[in-house]
Symmetry: C2
């Protein structure tokens, strides 16, 4: 995995500060996500073979689903069991997904244990599958002693806990992601290993690019309040959504923000590139690409009459086309001199590199948050809407 910064900035003191802030958070043990590569080891021996199931159903929203979806989508080709995510209280979505589920293992996931969408959908799932206390195919993932945890005890359901110092959007490597992925047959050992490798490498001062990028984003956030992630593959769609929550909720507070925008290449070259090329600028842009898709699908050497102008890609692999599109778009944007651009290339897409990418983005978020002076780990702004909602019933 390669991290390339296409800008030359230096702010030694901010860069050092980013490093020191993260080291402090890590060493104090106050912030839990740094330690998940170790604390989640205990889940790796879980065995669901006593349960008969054909699908893994995740009932959860936001931090309780986005990370798991991300890893699933990036590893879906290797997943023995399909995963189905019930997130939105959209009746059409719930109805149509329930029709596809025959014999599920169900994970109900809510950190607070009182998420209205998740618990409402859970009730419909109970109703639909006629589920009862002691059901072996319902598992609960929540904070210890949350309302949902107490419910689990009362129904005698197996419950897995999220460390109290791990926030929802930083929880994919906790039970939240690890346990359902394992149940789907995606063995997450390498995921944790990759995350650990990146973290250790960072604290060994071998990932200084992260400090440089965090320092730049912090120094420029008032003039460049948007970060566009341009990810070149459909399998990175959910990663982009996960990134939006991570940056959005962590850094959008105290009248500050770095607004995350997720786009998929080359599709969104046909929707968003015009604005980047000729709009106001004032954004940072990150390109993310996969060098080896492990798929040799090739553009056939077929010459069609009147279409000779596109024959220059014949006999090249599709991965060459999509990645050269990424390169070309990057160079076109660089030529505008309007953006601070960086590129992340994944050499081989696998669970280990996925784990590295996750830890990289979490630590980058922490570093920026600590430099711009916000509390990266809370989300007080979402409470008002919840209060108003309750008064509407």
């Amino acid at each position: 995995m390669k991290f390339e910064l296409l800008f030359n900035t230096q702010d030694n003191s901010k860069e050092e500060k980013a490093y020191e802030n993260l080291l402090k958070e890590f060493k104090s043990g106050e912030i839990g996500y740094y330690h998940l590569p170790e604390t989640s080891q205990k889940f790796l021996d879980l065995d669901f073979s006593d349960i008969n199931y054909d699908e893994v159903v995740v009932i959860g929203i936001g931090g309780s689903s986005l990370g798991t979806k991300t890893v699933y989508k990036m590893a879906v080709e290797y997943s023995p069991k399909p995963m189905i995510f019930l997130e939105n209280p959209d009746p059409i979505d719930i109805s149509s997904k329930l029709k596809t589920i025959k014999n599920p293992l169900i994970f109900v996931i809510s950190k607070s244990g009182k998420t209205i969408e998740t618990l409402s959908i859970f009730k419909e799932v109970i109703n639909h599958f006629n589920l009862n206390p002691k059901a072996k195919n319902i598992k609960i993932i929540t904070d210890e002693n949350s309302p949902l945890d107490k419910f689990a005890a009362s129904w005698e359901l197996e419950s897995f806990h999220i460390p109290l110092n791990v926030g929802g959007r930083f929880s994919v490597l906790s039970a939240v992601g690890i346990v359902p992925l394992l149940a789907a047959g995606i063995h997450p050992k390498e995921l944790l290993e990759g995350a650990k490798e990146f973290r250790n490498s960072f604290f060994d001062k071998e990932e200084w690019h992260l400090c440089k990028k965090a320092a730049l984003y912090a120094n420029k956030h008032k003039d460049y309040p948007v970060n566009v992630l341009f990810a070149y593959s459909n399998i990175l769609e959910d990663f982009a959504a996960w990134f939006v929550q991570l940056f959005g909720e962590s850094l959008g507070k105290n009248s500050k923000e770095i607004m995350p925008v997720g786009h998929i290449g080359s599709i969104d070259q046909h929707s968003f590139l015009q604005l980047l090329m000729e709009g106001i600028g004032k954004k940072t842009v990150t390109f993310l690409k996969i060098n080896d898709f492990k798929n040799n699908l090739t553009i056939p050497d077929i010459k069609l009459p009147f279409l000779e102008a596109v024959d220059y890609v014949n006999s090249h692999r599709f991965e060459e086309l999509i990645n050269k599109e990424c390169e070309a778009t990057k160079e076109a944007l660089l030529s505008t001199n309007k953006y601070f651009i960086d590129e992340i290339s994944i050499d081989n897409l696998n669970l280990k590199t996925t784990g590295k990418l996750i830890m990289y983005y979490e630590m980058l978020t922490s570093a920026i948050g600590s430099l711009i002076g916000v509390n990266t780990y809370n989300q007080p702004g979402v409470e008002l809407g919840k209060k108003i909602l309750k008064n509407k019933f």
Copy 2:
């Protein structure tokens, strides 16, 4: 359908100007999309019953797929045949979708007739299904006399034309959308009817809210350079992507932009709301909701121990929950006094209201573009990347 502006601004001269600009574009016949409700009538009698097919495959990207996907997703419950979209030159995506296609009717769609992604994927589809000249199950949709059109003639394939004065991102009501939707069994007569109704109603000065909104967006675009669409239903996901292209490519030029951001409620309340509540503001926000999902799925009246705090939604329909979440979020954002907010409510989701919504957004885009002084209909910024790409092979 109801359009509600939650701001009190008035700029009579700008509002009049928006109206006059659109009227001029409409009457001159220069801009073609206004006339598609009439010019596309000729496709409504098309009949594909001489072809044996089980899936409709669309090969296209950007304006050649997003609009059709939008309508398909909003009408999918009523579609007799599945539609599969081959857009991105992502080898994993293409391979996995090709595996699901057994007996396709294939539409190759490119306005310019030389889109590199579309034609490369088409070659793989030719290879995969062993297709030959005169194949009845390949149809071409492109500009008259484009390279792809000439190819169609040489292979003796049926070809449908896009009016030359209809741009890709404004083309969903042309052959681009109408013909493949019809082939899937989604009869688009009402789609055209809804679009026509909205257009006529606007020119009868019965949709002045559009002029007011366009005037506000134009007056404020330097200080409020972002428009967030918060659409409350999973079936609006593709609509949000279509909107991003429409606003992004049309308004992002001449060092100006109104950056479109699409979010789905209530899912993204769990990812993006924090930033809106406590970030820098400086955005306009549009809420879009469906009052009647035609789905009575109800939250069962199940009381679970320790989870009594969420029983207040029991026996309410899911559509009430998602729509009250929309209302609550809107009120929470209003209370910040940081945003200009409006709301679009669709009473009954059907092809007619979908057609109205499409025409509304297209005309809004034209109105804003004409007021901020950009050419709404071109996209010169995307050419440089294409040139660079070619040199990489």
